[in-house]
């Protein structure tokens, strides 16, 4: 079997942001369910949290292709 160990790291690094993004949107959905009129305020906060959690994975995507073996 051949391949780059970087891509295993890429897969591993998807776990954390995946869990984090799930938690963020779970909180967003239950917040909107409790108080539908707060949706527009919650939406930008949720997307900000989503973006910050996702940044970790995106940095890894870049590094996985940039770093040598």
């Amino acid at each position: 079997m051949e391949g780059s160990i970087n891509l295993v790291g890429l897969g591993l690094s998807a776990i954390g942001p995946g869990v984090g993004i799930g938690l963020i949107f779970a909180a967003f959905i239950s917040g909107v369910a409790r108080q539908p009129e707060a949706q527009s305020r919650l939406q930008s906060i949720a997307i900000l949290g989503f973006v910050l959690a996702e940044a970790l994975f995106i940095i890894t995507v870049a590094l996985a292709f940039v770093l040598p073996l």
Binding site: G3, S4, S44, I47, L48, V51, I58, I59, A62, F65
Partner: protein, 268 residues
Amino acid sequence: MSVTAALAAMTAVPAEEGSTFHPPGPSSFELPPIFGDVTKPMLLLTLSAVLVFGFFYLAARQSSLVPSRLQFAGETIYGFVRNTVARDNIGSEHYMKFVPYLFTLFSFILVNNYYGIIPFLQFPSFSRIGFIVPLALLSWLLFVGAGMWKHGPLGYLKHATMPSGVGGPILVLLVPLEFFSNIIIRPFTLTLRLFGNMFAGHLLLILFATGGAALLASGNVLYGAVGVLSFGLGIGVSFLEMLVMFLQAYVFTLLSAMYIGEALAEEH
């Protein structure tokens, strides 16, 4: 470079003799020049400036109280950026100064991202990192400049690096950290986020399309069935990409507005 080898292993295409399948990799983004030193992304970037200007010029040319369809579309986008991005994040006092920049930024990134799924163009120009760096630098200059305009150069540094209500020796630890995260890291994450999303998304689309084609052309019925599945997944990923493309344009603008708003905020 074994990235390509790993991707080949992932697509599970039989490595038989005479197979012409080349798995996509970072080299798929290095397009040959069309003429001289001009490459496809450069032309697309220029085209996007023309498209954005042309669309909003036409939309705003005959503005009337009862809007035409074009005017309505233009005003919807403008209103979205002005109200939900700029005003909510910068505050109602200073936001109009930054709306032209944020609006231009949003429409420019949006058009360039959607190049990725428009037939025949099919290359998101921001999957080349060099095009994003100037945008991130502009945003960086703008929010640092806005903070210095509001608080004075030293006042802004204090505002950005010293959280209020914290005192004593913990500041020795906190000030360098805040300086690093608020001033140095921000343009890098802005750049990498847009680049990484566009790069990874386009790579995925290439993978499903070329892999599906190679499987269909392999001559084996079972491989062909998997090739059809691969095309189906490619279509699904295209829809996901349409969402991501909009979201990344929104997020780049939103973060720029948030940084400006934070730099302009009063001490509390």
